[in-house]
């Protein structure tokens, strides 16, 4: 049974990578997140904003790669604030004076270091520079913009979704060979 049907619906839209939906979430959560971490995390306002952006990136990653899926065990807000708490703990090894506003999350969000993320991204960026324009296009549409095969076919003028899928796999293999 869905405990948070509105948030589940929102999560589905976010998972589809809809930019406007993410912006709307960003604008909506910014102030409450800042206040919460300035108030309970005793953070300077600038640091609270940095933490917010970091938490949003982690949320984004967990949503688009399918780690966070409906039905949600907490609201998206609670999940996002939970990520903030974990990030802050990792950073300062602090326990924070959280009160009961944000309960412990039933499913801990996966949080990786920014450095680790940068290295992984850099590897793929270099390979994409080498794989050729045609492959770069299809791989970017599929893996960076989250397009479905039908949309890729339309965008690149391919005859069908099957043709787009085949090109994607061919290009992925090329990338693999470049490793």
């Amino acid at each position: 049974m869905n405990k948070y049907p509105d948030d589940d619906r929102r999560l589905q839209k976010l998972a589809a990578g809809q930019g406007q939906e993410w912006k709307s979430l960003y604008d909506e959560m910014r102030s409450p997140f800042r206040l919460f971490f300035i108030k309970y995390g005793a953070m300077p306002p600038e640091a609270a904003l940095e933490l917010y952006q970091e938490a949003m990136v982690v949320l984004y990653r967990n949503v688009v790669n399918g780690k966070l899926q409906p039905p949600l065990a907490s609201t998206l807000k609670t999940y996002l604030f939970g990520i903030g708490k974990i990030l802050l703990k990792k950073k300062d090894n602090t326990t924070g004076d959280w009160g009961d506003d944000i309960p412990e999350l039933p499913v801990a969000p996966e949080v990786e270091s920014q450095q680790e993320q940068k290295a992984k991204a850099e590897l793929v960026r270099r390979l994409l520079d080498k794989v050729g324009e045609a492959c770069r296009q299809v791989l970017e549409l599929a893996f960076l913009k989250g397009y479905v095969m039908e949309a890729i076919a339309e965008e690149l003028g391919l005859p069908s979704a099957g043709a787009a899928r085949k090109r994607k796999h061919d290009c992925l293999k090329k990338l693999r060979e470049l490793l």
């Binding site: 306002p45 990136v57 989250g146």
Partner: protein, 302 residues
């Protein structure tokens, strides 16, 4: 390992959470025993994780553009000052703001300006509320004023209806009204007082009883009609005249008794007897009288 020997779609499904159940456990069993497949999966894992990381970086860039909008709006300090003024910030967070006020003159001026606004808004809200309370009071008074004529009219109508109803009940169902309505004075020239002596005497008694009735002396009239009725069987008169006097006297005795308090006999029983007597001159009147006596309006009027 040549690409023809492994299924890239299968690896993608495995790495992107598109594989579960038996397929996943079967694939994991293959990974355990096949070094080449495992190597390929790890290579592709790097690629997929790289794509995810790159996508996150793109998202971070996008966030920067959103953040530019916030910077242009320049509302962060305003928000901070608002939280400070509304008491949202406590402890270290509050101290930090107060320290900043000491260090930054411009910030202190901003806080002072917003404090004025905040207090102004609070006062305005209180003033608004006071006015609101006052307008509610006025509205209530106006409602009461507007309601008064309507209430008065409604009361007048109710009184009129009440009086009208009372009048109707009294006019139609009070004992006095019934007696007056149902009394039938003797026909002129039909007292049958002329003729033999006994007949004349009966005629005079009948006329005397009616006079008592008409004067409102109902006990007297009752006794007079009753006496006449007792005499009639022995009076030497023709049957037609006897019937006339008997029926008239029975009816008028009944009405006289009805007008008395308490009646000397059971009115309804006597009315039922007359109503049941075929050919009795007052049979139909007796039936109507019975209906009136049994009406709730009769009980209401008396």
């Amino acid at each position: 390992m040549p690409a023809e020997f492994y299924d890239i779609a299968q690896i993608e499904r495995y790495l992107t959470r598109g594989m579960d159940g038996e397929e996943r456990s079967g694939f994991e069993a293959l990974l355990k025993k096949d070094d080449n497949t495992r190597r390929e999966v790890e290579a592709y894992r790097q690629l997929f994780e790289g794509f995810h990381a790159l996508r996150s970086e793109n998202f971070r860039q996008e966030m920067k553009s959103w953040e530019t909008e916030w910077e242009q709006a320049n509302t962060d300090d305003t928000e901070l000052i608002e939280w400070y003024l509304t008491g949202e910030l406590t402890g270290e967070a509050r101290t930090r703001i107060e320290n900043r006020m000491e260090e930054e003159e411009q910030f202190a001026r901003e806080v002072a300006a917003y404090r004025q606004l905040h207090e102004g808004f609070t006062a305005a809200r209180s003033e608004d509320f006071r006015q609101q309370v006052s307008s509610w009071e006025k509205e209530q008074a106006a409602v009461r004023r507007r309601l008064w004529p309507r209430l008065a009219a409604a009361a007048a109508i109710l009184l009129l209806v009440g009086f009208g109803f009372r009048w109707y009940v009294q006019a139609n169902f009070s004992t006095e009204a019934i007696v007056a309505t149902y009394y039938q004075p003797p026909l002129e020239g039909a007292t049958m007082g002329e003729g033999p002596l006994e007949q004349e005497a009966a005629g005079r008694s009948f006329a005397a009883a009616n006079r008592l009735f008409q004067k409102g002396d109902y006990p007297g009239a009752y006794l007079a009609f009753d006496a006449l009725l007792n005499q009639l069987p022995d009076v030497s008169i023709d049957n037609l005249t006897r019937s006339y006097y008997r029926e008239q006297s029975e009816w008028n005795r009944l009405l006289s008794a009805l007008a008395m308090d308490p009646p000397p006999f059971n009115i309804q029983e006597e009315a039922r007897r007359i109503a049941a007597e075929d050919g009795h001159e007052f049979q139909s009147q007796a039936k109507r009288l019975l209906r009136k006596l049994q009406s709730p309006f009769y009980r209401l009027a008396n």
